[in-house]
């Protein structure tokens, strides 16, 4: 999508302003509730600047004049960044996230801020203070979460491409449910500076779009070392489009972890993986059966580690320095308690669970234990890399479920993340790419998980699936 639009822009078939207006008009007709904030004036100003840049012909990048959407937990200077929470409903950050600043420097146009599960906590995008996001394929179904707005907007043509974030599958799951491509980079690939923290040892910003190439273009712009994030890797900026092309000429040993093909896997999801396996074999790749024996513990580890980090990170929302305040006429403690009652149910649940797991008497039994099993999960991958280059797996055991279907029992939604969580726990890159549809017409995603910093290989394999197995229509109205 991005390259096609770039060509229209550079050959003057369309201007950046016209392109921005095209997407803004589509957003006005949106039925998915993908946007929390639409920044029409700012978008048009950015588009005008992009048109000047294109007219000058200097410093033009693939992203100059391309209309993008940003998940609403990426700080945008002077523009509301709500995290889909009442507690930040009017918060305007005084600075840009590094990923946002880099897209700005490349000349992109920002259309607005995208809906999500509150503080990225959820797998269905039903936990938003601004209403659930609907799946553009079928509005009765969830788009997946937590980057549901980012996925739905890319699919429905409400932005050329988007940024999301992935802590336990929040880019890959909604990509699978909406028929888009979503990449969770290696921990440390993309600076987390200005990404509102949920679980700091797991969070990564990731690109989402209608093609692997769109993700490669966005990743090239946002990845690379940032002195503002001490966990950002000391790696140079790279051209992932070129690296993806090079990686696409190689043959890989691809592992199929037997623990990912268990009971409960929807038949059509299994069949889609089979289709990809056959195509990969035909193309000369080697498929290898492998074992990741601690997979079944990943959800339990995640829901201790992620909530513990969250309870600590979300302590900053206290009604003192920014965000909303309630009970300002009472004592300080009472003000804290009333202000924090603005959190939604899922956020409260996780803060309570995390505070419990870190509390005296339970720390060893929960937090330390979970971190020990986290090591075993990482060791499983380290061992697998001795015999394979990449791992192929489902993204989720099933396709999208109906809105409201699983809200009563949070554990049921948590279990949906069983195939995406391990990559976050081990810090590995993972990509979700559409590989078919089920009998109801709902998209099916497959996942490639790679060694640290193997994003180019994952992008190349995703592109292979697009070219050789299944291609989703990209209807953005051109």
């Amino acid at each position: 999508m991005i390259r096609a639009l770039h060509e229209k822009l550079t050959t003057k078939k369309i201007s950046s302003v016209e392109l921005a207006k095209h997407y803004l008009a589509r957003i006005k007709q949106d039925k998915t509730n993908s946007y929390i904030t639409v920044t029409e004036d700012a978008a048009l100003a950015m588009a005008r600047a992009a048109d000047n840049r294109l007219a000058g012909g200097e410093d033009v990048t693939l992203l100059t004049g391309i209309p993008l959407g940003l998940k609403d937990l990426l700080c945008t200077q002077g523009i509301k960044t709500t995290c889909a929470s009442k507690i930040l409903a009017d918060y305007k950050p005084p600075y840009d996230a590094t990923a946002v600043a880099r897209l700005k420097a490349a000349g992109a146009t920002f259309l607005g801020k995208l809906n999500m599960d509150e503080f990225a906590m959820g797998g269905s995008n039903e936990n938003s203070a601004f209403g659930a996001v609907r799946n553009p394929i079928n509005s009765e179904y969830v788009p997946g979460g937590s980057s549901g707005g980012s996925a739905a907007a890319a699919k429905a043509g409400l932005a050329a491409a988007t940024l999301g974030s992935d802590t336990g599958g929040s880019v890959r799951l909604p990509a699978a449910y909406t028929g888009t491509v979503g990449l969770k980079p290696t921990y440390g690939s993309v600076s987390r500076y200005g990404l509102v923290a949920f679980a700091s040892s797991l969070d990564q910003i990731g690109p989402m779009g209608v093609s692997a190439e769109d993700c490669a273009i966005l990743l090239s712009a946002i990845a690379g070392h940032d002195p503002f994030d001490s966990t950002s890797a000391q790696r140079p900026v790279a051209d992932y489009v070129e690296l993806m092309k090079q990686a696409g000429t190689k043959k890989y040993r691809i592992g199929l972890p037997r623990e990912y093909f268990i009971g409960g896997l929807q038949k059509e999801v299994g069949a889609s993986i089979d289709g990809v396996v056959q195509a990969l074999k035909k193309a000369g790749h080697t498929l290898v059966d492998i074992s990741l024996p601690h997979t079944e513990f990943s959800v339990a580890v995640y829901y201790v580690v992620a909530v513990s980090e969250a309870s600590s990170n979300l302590a900053r929302f206290d009604g003192v320095r920014y965000g909303a305040r309630l009970g300002g006429d009472r004592t300080l403690t009472e003000m804290y308690r009333q202000t924090r009652s603005l959190f939604g149910d899922e956020v409260k649940r996780r803060i309570i669970l995390g505070t419990f797991a870190l509390s005296a008497g339970y720390y060893d039994a929960y937090y330390k234990k979970a971190c020990q099993v986290r090591r075993l999960i990482k060791n499983d991958f380290d061992k697998a890399w001795q015999s394979v280059d990449v791992i192929l797996a489902p993204v989720s055991p099933t396709t999208a479920f109906k809105i409201g279907e699983k809200t009563a029992d949070p554990l049921q939604i948590y279990l949906n993340d069983i195939f995406t969580i391990p990559a976050n726990l081990a810090g590995l890159p993972g990509i979700s790419v559409p590989a078919g549809r089920d009998a109801k017409g709902l998209p099916i995603g497959v996942q490639f998980i790679g060694k640290p910093f193997a994003e180019a290989e994952l992008l190349a394999l995703a592109r292979f699936v697009e070219d050789g197995v299944h291609r989703e229509e990209a209807e953005h109205g051109f």
Binding site: Y91, P94, Y95, Y187, G188, S201, P227, S230, E296, F297, V299, A300, Y303, V304, S311, A315, D318, G319, V320, R321, Y322, G323, A324, G328, R330, T331, L332, T333, E334, M335, Y336, R337, Q338, R340, S341, F343, D345, K348, R349, I351, I352, T355, F356, S359, Y366, K369, A370, C371, Q372, V373, R374, R375, L376, K378, D409, L411, Y414, L425, A426, G427
Partner: protein
């Protein structure tokens, strides 16, 4: 789950400075009880010799030179606060109450 009854939920919510209604306490006790029951499966693994993994990056703390760099300044930062007095954050009464 005896270890995670309503009293535990109330106590932990107090530690986390969260105000919960009785209905929320009842709902969270049940839901979190289920989750903890599920988490208990970790205890089927012997991890006595396993070093905890706290982050995928097992590197020493990153250091940098202690240099003065531009920042938005106190006025800008304090202006974001719900209540302020000059360049200070203004908070309700600290002593007293609970």
């Amino acid at each position: 789950m005896s270890k995670f009854g309503p009293d535990t939920v109330r106590k932990v919510a107090e530690l986390a400075r969260l105000q919960l209604s009785d209905i929320e306490v009842a709902k969270f006790t049940e839901q979190l009880g289920h989750i903890l029951e599920y988490v208990d499966k970790l205890n089927t693994l012997d991890t006595s010799t396993v070093e905890p993994l706290l982050s995928p990056l097992e590197v020493a703390t990153a250091l940098r030179l202690d240099e003065v760099r531009p920042s938005p300044g106190a006025e800008v930062m304090v202006s974001l606060a719900p209540d302020q007095l000059y360049d200070n954050y203004k908070v309700p009464q600290v002593m007293g109450g609970n």
